[in-house]
Symmetry: C2
Subunit: 220 residues, 2 copies
């Protein structure tokens, strides 16, 4: 196993070194994948390190960016009526799900950036309804336009990224001894969940979007 | 920027080195996160390197494993009737979506493990209906039990993992000059998409599951 570990380290270094240059016949990622002074790669479809973040944290950021782009593309152009559309008595509206994404991110900020395990009183007041969804969500989350939701999501994300910039890959691998299912869970897993959870709801949002009154059939 | 790159490299090395030992007061991921000779970490909720894979490829594998576990948990216990349940005339069944996940993985195997850009004739015959879903999917994909779908998913994943073991982090960062939206897209992004796409459909599967005839109200 030690041999394998050494090999793994060598491979990573080799990949990092090669990424700085180029390899005949292959299109390689420029190191840090940046274009000009934007700190972003030439394409959002490059998963990998980002300038301003440690390599693994930056890779996570590239996933979060990619996923958020997908969600924003899905909801682009929806008005308050569509955001409040309730498909059946058990459903959540698209608007409520967008706020739910922001609420979940707020919860994971607490559980990974602080020593607390849950939202404090102010946090609960702000986020609990959107975290829980259900009847209270159906009653309380409505009447907003798209920018209302996108602004909240964006502000939450800016805070996440600012905290990520202060941390390193060692922090990302830190293990909470009992989290998902009471089992050891590292910060990377918690934030990977924040990311894939956006896709989970994106699937539901697309499903609802193709069934908005007056919408032609979709296949979601 | 060069200074930043050097810093990124140092941080990664530091994290890798620290992961091999332990830090007072912190629970750290053991190097490669393995337990005994299983080649797996003590908890599936550890995102990070996996034995037998280069570090970044192994990290991707840990995400794919985690996501697949979530999907399998969602469908556990469903019978053929539930897998064939059609919610409305535009919907896909849960069974069809499971086959769709296997079909998408087969497509990305082709586009990242071979020089081809699409499935060959045999591949299309096998996967096209599940890739497209829609009317043909509603007509053709039915009458199977859960193991039928899980076995196909598992066999596809085993092939993916076998190919991953032959490749390294440099391969993962290779850029296809025109893929998503005709833009540069690396292999990591393609496989991240395979992963988050499972979550997208998991969201829809949960939505349908909570509406199966005779099921109590859910909130998805």
């Amino acid at each position: 196993m030690e041999k394998q570990n050494a090999l793994n380290r060598r491979n990573f270094l080799k990949a990092t070194a090669a990424a700085a240059g180029s390899l005949a016949g292959l299109v390689m990622l420029p190191q840090c994948g940046t274009a000009g002074d934007t700190g972003r790669p030439e394409s959002i479809h490059i998963i990998g390190p980002r300038e301003g973040y440690s390599p693994q944290v930056g890779t996570l950021v590239s996933m979060l960016d990619w996923m958020r782009m997908v969600v924003v593309n899905t909801v682009q152009g929806l008005g308050p009526k569509e955001l409040d559309y309730l498909h059946d008595s058990k459903a959540n509206t698209i608007g409520a799900m967008l706020l739910h994404l922001a609420a979940l991110e707020a919860f994971y900020q607490v559980t990974t950036f602080t020593n607390r395990k849950e939202l404090n009183a102010a946090g609960k007041k702000k986020w609990q309804t959107a975290l829980d969804l259900g009847d209270a969500g159906r009653k309380k989350i409505k009447g907003h336009n798209l920018n209302y939701y996108l602004d909240i999501l964006q502000r939450g994300r800016e805070y996440t990224l600012a905290e990520f910039r202060k941390r390193d890959d060692q922090w990302l691998m830190l293990v909470d001894p009992a989290f998902f299912g009471g089992q050891p869970t590292n910060n990377y897993c918690k934030w990977f969940h924040v990311c894939e959870h956006e896709s989970n709801h994106n699937g539901q949002i697309k499903w609802l979007k193709s069934r908005l009154p007056g919408t032609r059939a979709g296949n979601d």
